[in-house]
């Protein structure tokens, strides 16, 4: 019961953090381009502004799906961030929640995509087909690298067990063994595609297909679709940090101040992960084409993650 209350309590925290992180990300992105950039709280302004705007439903859309999908998508990606957050704060172990989290993240992508294609817009349809290809491209290596981790922590699919294994062995997985390090690299390589940023923002390429599946959304529904995206990029960065880089000597030595400092540190490191996997790629690359992106994902991250599973199995 307490866990359930905390889970609900974590919702505003996740919303705040994901919007705040997007603000910092946009600021840094702008500074790297010699621009001044928006204020850090710009995403909050945008969110509130969009909530107050009018929503237009295209006549070709199937209304129920079109309207309900962004809200469910936002809820599922916020939940995907809230579960590990609460689980880490309370130490509560839930059987198989790692699988739940990854499915919630995939769910939020699939839902927004379905919403776009239900709009009846040809750009939404193209965005849908591109997103399907991208999903097949990055979900497989993403799941395989998580599988490698769970093998490493005595085949447990519980999030807190994986984190606590790092505490037990006294170092983070990325430094512990070559197998886990490969899994970490595969996971990080999948992040730009999973969050949909350049060079892998192909399903919503604005110069090609006008934001793809977002094309017909407006008002509160657009706000929720964007929130879903922000929350899922926060959730992914948080997962990437805690699963692969949770280095106990760095985080657990604050006995005096308790867990507060370590939680703040975790958020800072989460942002650093986000900076290197989302902000930097979108600054320094041009957008790839769908075929090129798919080829990339099945060539490098997939090979790496399969190798990681093999390495972990033989005990490296």
């Amino acid at each position: 019961m307490v866990v359930l209350v905390m889970l609900l309590g974590a919702f505003p925290v996740v919303i705040f953090l994901s919007l705040f992180f997007e603000g910092i990300d946009r600021k840094l992105y702008a500074r790297m381009q010699k621009r001044i950039g928006p204020p850090i709280i710009q995403p909050f302004y945008d969110f509130v502004k969009l909530l107050n705007k009018e929503s237009i439903f295209p006549v070709t859309a199937s209304k129920t799906i079109f309207a309900s999908v962004p809200i469910i998508a936002a809820a599922s990606s916020i939940l995907a961030a809230a579960i590990p957050l609460v689980s880490l704060a309370t130490g509560a172990s839930v059987l198989g929640d790692l699988i739940l989290i990854t499915y919630l993240l995939a769910m939020s992508s699939i839902l927004v995509m379905i919403g776009g294609s239900s709009s009846g817009n040809p750009y939404g349809a193209i965005g849908f087909s591109r997103k399907v290809v991208m999903l097949i491209g990055y979900e497989v290596p993403l799941l395989t690298s998580i599988l490698a981790l769970s093998l490493k922590s005595k085949f447990s699919f519980s999030y807190i067990d994986v984190v606590m294994t790092q505490v037990e062995i006294g170092t983070c997985f990325a430094l512990a063994s070559p197998g886990a390090a490969m899994a970490a690299i595969a996971f990080l390589l999948c992040m730009p595609a999973a969050t949909g940023v350049v060079p892998f923002d192909i399903p919503e390429a604005k110069t090609e297909i006008i934001h793809g599946y977002l094309v017909e959304y407006s008002g509160p529904y657009l706000a929720f679709a964007k929130l879903a995206k922000d929350a899922s990029s926060f959730a992914l960065s948080f997962l990437a940090f805690t699963l692969f880089f949770y280095h106990p000597p760095l985080l657990e030595d604050f006995a005096l101040m308790g867990r507060l400092i370590s939680i703040i540190l975790i958020f800072i490191f989460t942002f650093i992960v986000m900076f290197f996997t989302i902000t930097i790629p979108r600054t320094i690359f041009a957008r790839l084409k769908i075929g090129q992106a798919f080829k990339f994902y099945w060539r490098y991250p997939l090979a790496l993650s399969i190798l990681a599973v093999i390495f972990v199995n033989v005990g490296l």
Partner: protein
């Protein structure tokens, strides 16, 4: 009508995607009806005319000085090209020869304009392939040129530099130095841009895209960097020199590429940046002294304009720009005909687009650097019969019922 039901049969193997008139990839309104099968483009139909302004007809109702003001506003990027071309025709009719210094200054502004136009193109190209950082960087460098314009002429875009028989503004020694130092800065920026455009992700997006082979480029009468990217060695500055280009011929070379793809067209423009900087440096070295415009007033030179006709052409940043001018001998125009480079290049787009992917549409369209408001013509489409016809001037006059 409302209860009449129509059976709609969808052909799901082909999807017609409307690109434009409003589309984030297009800076100006043009409409492409693109038929796609999965991601492949199988057919394209093109429609212009969303921003037709009737400038040719309007110019014929005005006197020469007013027309010059109007003509500068045909294009927001190559405004000086348009007036140089127009003034070239007028000077041929009046048999007036501007002073050497005026010609050099005209050429200076012309080349600065090419610099800013090419930088604008490179930024747009980077934006189309999703490389926003490069886009921001090139446009940041472009500001340097625009600031120079503002200091020389007082305007960033519409410079109002040309008058009949000369130019309006002179530059002093301090300005020369400033241009020279800006040019060395520009050269560094251009080198950086060239290096970044050799990035792998950029090359992946641009090479072997929007192919236009040598023969097809000739057959479709493409001009400018589009033609030079397909290996046609043509440049009005060399072939038919105007302004001061006759004396500057040795200070630049014509950049050509034989690949004929979007990357070649981009590369031609990148290398032309260096050629342009060379020309500007040479102009600053050789700038002759003298007056910049005739003593008589504009109104006098306008009223002394005899009746006559002339064809003039210049190499605008996007290619050959052609004017036909017929004066009426009373300080006005009887006929003005403008053939902008985009109008020559845009017919090649269909050929370039077919066989590419949807992701390549913005890249291919941007690769000819279209300047659409220059290229608009009126087409009236009969919706019942579905046939289109272009309205000629006489019909337009009849419709308008204006007297001349």
């Amino acid at each position: 009508m409302a209860d009449e039901t129509r059976e709609v049969r969808y052909d799901y193997s082909r999807l017609i995607v409307p690109v434009g008139p409003v589309h984030p990839a297009l800076k100006e309104p043009v409409h492409f009806k693109v038929t796609v099968r999965k991601e492949e483009v199988v057919d394209v139909s093109l429609r212009l005319g969303h921003v037709h302004r009737g400038i040719e007809a309007l110019a014929e109702t005005r006197n020469l000085v007013q027309a010059m003001y109007l003509i500068e506003r045909i294009c927001g990027i190559c405004s000086h090209s348009h007036t140089t071309c127009f003034v070239g025709a007028l000077e041929e009719i009046a048999n007036a020869q501007p002073s050497e210094r005026a010609l050099y200054l005209r050429t200076l502004i012309f080349e600065l304009e090419r610099l800013h136009s090419h930088l604008l193109f490179l930024g747009v190209m980077a934006y189309e392939i999703g490389f926003d950082t490069l886009f921001m960087f090139t446009w940041h460098s472009r500001e340097t040129v625009l600031d120079l314009f503002e200091e020389i002429t007082g305007n960033r875009i519409h410079h109002s530099m040309n008058v009949i028989g000369g130019v309006r503004w002179d530059i002093d020694h301090r300005m020369e130095e400033k241009i020279a130092s800006s040019m060395s800065k520009m050269r560094k920026a251009a080198q950086y841009i060239r290096d970044v455009f050799q990035d792998k992700t950029v090359e992946k997006r641009l090479s072997r895209i929007g192919l236009l082979d040598h023969n097809m480029a000739r057959e479709l009468c493409t001009v400018g960097p589009t033609a030079r990217g397909s290996g046609l060695k043509m440049d009005i500055r060399k072939d038919d020199p105007y302004a001061a280009y006759g004396e500057l011929k040795d200070s630049f070379s014509v950049v050509t590429r034989t690949e004929g793809d979007a990357y070649a067209r981009t590369e031609v423009r990148i290398h032309e940046l260096f050629e342009t900087i060379n020309i500007i440096d040479t102009i600053l070295d050789r700038l002759p002294s003298g007056t910049i415009r005739p003593k008589e007033t504009v109104l006098r030179s306008m009223s002394r304009m005899p009746q006559g006709e002339a064809v003039s052409r210049v190499e605008a940043p996007r290619g050959e720009l052609l004017y036909f001018v017929r004066t009426d001998g009373k300080g006005g125009l009887r006929r003005l005909k403008v053939r902008t480079p985009t109008l020559a290049n845009i017919v090649g787009l269909r050929y370039m687009l077919i066989g590419n992917e949807i992701a390549d549409i913005p890249v291919v369209v941007a690769s000819i650097d279209p300047c659409l408001s220059c290229a608009n013509r009126i087409t009236i489409i009969d919706r019942e019969g579905g046939d289109a016809r272009v309205v000629d001037l006489e019909a337009l006059r009849r419709k308008r019922r204006w007297s001349f």
